[in-house]
Amino acid sequence: MPTIVTFAEAREGALRRASLEAVSEARRLADAMGASVQSVVIGSGVGALAGELGAYGADRVHVFEHADLAAYATETWARALGQVITQETPAVVLVPFTAMGRDLAPRVAARVGAGLVSDCVRLEVKDGRLQARRPLYAGKAFATVRWQGDPQMATLRPNVFPLGRKDAARKPETVAGAVDAAARARVVSVAASAAGKVELTEAQIIVSGGRGLKGPENFHLVEELAGALGAAVGASRAVVDAGWVDHQYQVGQTGKTVSPTLYVAAGISGAIQHLAGMSSSKVIVAINKDPDAPIFKVADYGIVGDVFEILPRLTAAARAVRSAGH
């Protein structure tokens, strides 16, 4: 029976949502291909996570659990995942396209000689082989891609693949893995970053601000609306380059490509490179004083108006809705 291997990223003792999306997708593909699903989880105190991977569809979970594996190290993780791939010879390997997956997957692909397709937004089985769809030019175009030979290795864009049905009664077989923890490049310290807790690429809602806010002193209007909606904050390249906010916030072709459920663009005119980074969002709201702004061409709902009038009212209304218990 062919095998699909997924990498399950754990941080601070919990599985990332993107890891559950990957195992859910693996289960869906495995059912279409008649394959089994095996997940790999690596870390310190990660043994308890096997059950959750099983509940989302893993038949077997390889657990690399050791005190020496407390902090992610590329070489160690690549060695462990590479070991499983060499041993299980899977047809497909799925890795979340998170910061860790981005760092890890290429190293593993070179190690096992796999073709790797990054940032997939759709996977399907055609004639028993995998076929992927992925954005190019930050979403200005979409490629359909196929692999020659196995393993067919893909990284999956977070927030795109739906979670499968969780069945706590489904218990996976667990296999304890051991790996040499040596690595020449290592994390020596970690601090919470200025960009806050909600990661743009994984956020369900994003509120972004642009030049229409007129100055960095007004950017709090965007942050307050984001706070009221439980959203991440984004920004256009213009305001990042002007130094209003850190580059971490930039949405667009030279920043982050995002696909949230709801994207609110406030005072952003919509340069091509910005549209490229956000036009795969499910619902787009644009607020701009210029009725001819290109952002309205991709928006679902548009308000021609002054961000200084609209944003505070929207924030107040969103807070009221929230406290009413929606």
Partner: protein, 282 residues
């Protein structure tokens, strides 16, 4: 001493800081030429590639950070900066831009056999060119804008047998080690790696300089070495793609905008109602 930039100036300013027995620092920067980010993308008649005819080409912005960082390292520590790029004839202009910024020399990997390489094939060719250079540091952008794969730095590190740190926003070299800072998903990480290593550049690492007129003139005289697959010792099976694009298409059009009219108060109320009842996203 290998490759130290000579001349009275260099000797006065820099040489005395570095004992002669110390090897000078060699930084290799991988450069990709990409369509200008303001370009409109059109699908070629074969339905698999893009129309290149009227595209403007630039050095991938993330690679500019890598070039700038290499130059700053050379300014502080001495040594040399070598650029490597793979692609057709047009790629020369990307290498000339990097040389005009101040890089010392460049290698152009050029062969009809390189058309349609996938990321692994590209990394194998780059690795074959970089391996004999005995670099102390290999820099590259964290992704090539357009392909957006974020693969080559990691592939290259594994193929070269070197440690890697990706998405760097700060790099400091001391005592044969690099301290690299990265911003990821709400965390600021500090990594340490032995050298040589592969480090990929993220926005925020630095502000790339513009080439001066003098730099542009000087770049014309700098050496660009062309290497083909045979010179790199690559065989057909090293280059055979494992990944094929079978179709390329433009994204589906958005459904169209619904404008919300009225006074600010009414617009806000209607927007929230639509997001809640119609779009069901709140």
């Amino acid at each position: 001493m290998r490759g130290f930039r000579g001349g009275a100036h260099a000797r006065r300013i820099g040489a005395w800081r570095f004992p002669p027995e110390m090897k000078t620092l060699k930084t290799v920067v991988c450069v990709k030429q990409v369509p200008d980010t303001e370009s409109r993308i059109r699908v070629a008649p074969d339905g698999k590639g893009i129309v290149e005819g009227d595209l403007g080409w630039i050095v991938s912005p993330y690679d500019e950070y890598a070039i700038e960082e290499a130059l700053r390292i050379r300014e502080k520590k001495g040594g040399e900066v070598v650029l490597v790029s793979l692609g057709p004839e047009r790629v020369l202009s990307a290498l000339r831009s990097g040389l005009a910024m101040g890089a010392d020399s460049a290698i152009h990997l050029k062969d009809p056999a390189f058309d349609g390489l996938d990321t692994l094939g590209t990394a194998r060719a780059l690795a074959a060119a970089i391996r004999p250079l005995s670099a102390d540091l290999v820099l590259a952008g964290q992704q090539g804008v357009g392909g957006d794969n974020s693969q080559v730095p990691g592939l290259l590190a594994e193929l070269l047998g070197l440690p890697q740190v990706t998405m760097a926003v700060k790099i400091e070299l001391a005592d044969g080690k690099a301290t690299v800072e990265r911003e990821i998903e709400g965390a600021h990480e500090v990594w340490e790696t032995s050298l040589p290593a592969v480090v990929s550049a993220q926005k925020g690492l630095n502000e790339p300089r513009y080439a001066s007129l003098k730099g542009i003139m000087a770049a014309k005289k700098k050496q660009v070495q062309a290497m083909d697959a045979a010179a790199l010792g690559l065989k057909a099976e090293d280059l055979a793609p494992k990944v094929d694009v079978v179709a390329l298409e433009l994204p589906p059009p958005r459904p169209g905008v619904r404008m919300i009219e009225g006074e600010a108060e009414a617009q806000v109320k209607e927007l929230l109602r639509l997001l809640h009842e119609e779009a069901k996203v709140l």
